[in-house]
């Protein structure tokens, strides 16, 4: 009996604010977004350009505070410019995965029977396939670019959405207040809009925030393997580029990695905060 009414809703924001991890995560995320927005202003030149001699260690030259890489490129500039790729890929691929996953899950859950069976088998297939391997194959075949990366990540990350939405819709469909709406003669569309969907929203929001984190990890892994957009600087690419010279210049790989770690951590913390704020029942179990 979790009182999940809008009276609680107002408390949800406060609950999120009381979650120290969520606040820290939000702060980091704001910083990353700011970096992506400010990159063209602070570093108007291309991050691919050589600005100094190669292998300048960090904290030695004021002009390149984080040092340079093997080709004399400014690492700080790379980090700033790389933020936008991670954010765009993370957000857009998650949205795309939701666009695939939510309708499939809602359909399977609401219609049940054969449709459900067929859709779930299909989902299972995509869940069995090693997702990173499939993403590699997709990007390799479609040729590396921002859009092929987004497509590949979306195609491997929708199954959990489908399963979640299906489960929620299935359980809501047999809920007595949905049955009450049916017997009072409301249309299916109204029932979905008024009774079912608002009550599935919070788990979807939580899942989506965690999916953005996973998508950023996938994006950086693909870029690390050289499957990123060749025209865009990205964190994963920077780690990959520094890999061969890791014995001489640890900072080339260390900084982008830390930035990826912090961004993914921030999104996970936000996800946990949202979960605690929106699903009071789960919060108590944690």
């Amino acid at each position: 009996m979790s009182p999940a009414g809008p009276a609680r809703r107002r408390g949800a924001l406060a609950a999120f604010g009381r979650h120290p991890g969520a606040v820290a995560g939000s702060a980091i995320l704001v910083a990353v977004v700011a970096a992506a927005l400010l990159a063209p202003l602070l570093y108007p030149a291309s991050p691919w350009r050589m600005v100094q001699r190669p292998f300048v260690p960090p904290f030695t030259l004021e002009r390149v505070p984080l040092g340079t890489d093997a080709l004399g490129r400014d690492i700080a500039a790379g980090l700033m410019h790389g933020a936008s790729v991670s954010l765009v890929v993370g957000l857009v691929s998650t949205l795309a995965a939701l666009v695939i996953g939510v309708p499939l899950g809602a359909l399977a859950g609401y219609l049940g029977g054969r449709v459900d069976d067929a859709l779930m088998r299909f989902t299972e297939l995509f869940q069995t396939v090693p997702s990173f391997a499939l993403a590699i194959v997709l990007v390799a075949i479609l040729q590396p670019s921002l859009s092929s990366m987004i497509l590949a990540i979306a195609l491997v990350s929708w199954p959990p959405v489908t399963r979640l939405v299906r489960g929620e819709v299935l359980s809501l469909r047999s809920r007595e207040y949905v049955q009450a709406a049916i017997v009072t003669g409301q249309t299916t569309f109204t029932i979905l809009r008024r009774e079912v969907l608002p009550n599935t929203l919070s788990p979807i929001v939580v899942l989506a925030s965690l999916m953005v984190a996973t998508a950023i990890l996938l994006e950086s892994s693909l870029s690390f393997l050289g499957l990123g957009d060749p025209n865009r600087m990205s964190w994963g690419f920077m780690v990959g580029a520094g890999r061969t010279v890791i014995r001489q210049a640890w900072w080339i790989t260390a900084f982008p990695g830390v930035v990826i770690l912090l961004t993914v951590l921030a999104l996970n913390l936000i996800g946990e905060g949202l979960n605690d704020a929106l699903n009071p029942r789960l919060a108590r179990e944690r």
């Binding site: 090693p130 590699i136 890791i246 790989t253 990826i260």
Partner: protein, 323 residues
């Protein structure tokens, strides 16, 4: 149980066939002539070879015919020929598979054992400093890019401390045999297996902890208390055993991620498995090899899922009734 395994194998075969069909369409997704795509950049120059491919996969026939012949070839374990490596794809993969199985198997066992252990410890002392520390570290591992933590491990444990070798499967040219060779391989295995396992350990820590806390609130735990059982027995026999069920399910679902993660680990550590083979195929745009590895790694996941399903059935007596 025999019937159940037969059933699950049957289902696995169907899924594998579906993956092969998916593969077929993936090739057609690539821009250009599928025969040239299959031949790869190196083979495309060889017109005789391309013509052979065209005939073998019926590429000048209508699509359904092409599909049928493609599936027939794969089912016959003929994964094609890698021009670049001058070897059949099946042989290439066969040579590399044991190293991958060793790596993923070790990483899986380590991550599961440590994950359950620390998850149980955290749940036992929920809210304490130890709990905060364990969940904090788990969250950190959960967010760490696999390829990066591998590189950092190399810097720390190979470059600075010089404790462990940073790449390879064994010491080349050392001529070890028997136990000495096994020890050498194990020595090389430590870093890749540990780094690959970290993420999954974090996953199992979180799952075990949440699951234990949930089970602790169930009625039968109260019954166990009402018997006067000691707390340790209650935790082990009643709480942990029930809490492990969702962890087993999760382990099955994570199999795909584990096999995918091996691509990164093997690439960084130059571990001669199919993950590294995939990376090589990628660099050389050797699509036939790439798709071959993809099919085989999917097959690995299926076998793994079969094992977790059987384990689940052994642990949970209720399944029989539910079927």
């Amino acid at each position: 149980m025999g019937l159940f395994i037969a059933r699950r194998i049957g289902k696995g075969v169907v899924v594998l066939l579906a993956i092969v069909v998916l593969n077929f369409f993936l090739i057609r997704l690539a821009p250009g002539d599928p025969a040239l795509v299959m031949a790869g950049e190196a083979g495309a120059a060889d017109e005789v070879f391309v013509a052979q491919l065209r005939e073998k996969f019926a590429l000048d026939q209508p699509l359904p015919r092409q599909l049928a012949s493609y599936v027939r070839n794969i089912v016959g374990l003929d994964l094609g020929y890698s021009v670049r490596q001058q070897m059949p794809v099946a042989t290439l993969i066969g040579d590399r598979l044991p190293a991958t199985l060793l790596l993923t198997g070790t990483a899986f066992l380590i991550s599961l054992a440590l994950g359950v252990l620390f998850g149980a410890l955290a749940a036992r002392r929920a809210g304490s400093l130890a709990d905060t520390a364990i969940t904090g570290v788990a969250l950190l591992f959960y967010a760490t890019p696999l390829f990066w933590v591998s590189l950092m491990a190399i810097i720390v444990f190979s470059v600075r401390l010089d404790w462990l070798p940073s790449f390879g499967f064994e010491t080349v040219g050392a001529g070890y045999a028997g136990l000495a060779r096994a020890a050498d391989i194990a020595h090389h295995l430590v870093l890749p297996a540990m780094t690959l396992g970290l993420f999954f350990m974090a996953v199992y820590v979180r799952m075990t902890r949440a699951s234990m806390l949930e089970v602790m609130g169930l009625d039968f735990v109260k019954t166990a208390r009402a018997k006067g059982l000691a707390e340790g027995v209650i935790q082990r026999r009643h709480v942990l055993r029930n809490a492990l069920l969702p962890v087993v399910t999760l382990a099955g679902l994570q199999a795909g991620t584990l096999v995918g993660g091996a691509v990164l680990t093997e690439t960084v550590f130059a571990w001669p498995g199919i993950g590294r083979l995939m990376y090589e195929a990628l660099l050389q745009r050797d699509y036939n090899l790439l798709l071959g590895v993809f099919v085989v790694s999917s097959g690995m996941v299926l076998v793994f899922n079969l094992v977790t399903d059987v384990v689940y059935r052994v642990v949970d007596p209720r399944i029989e009734a539910a079927r």
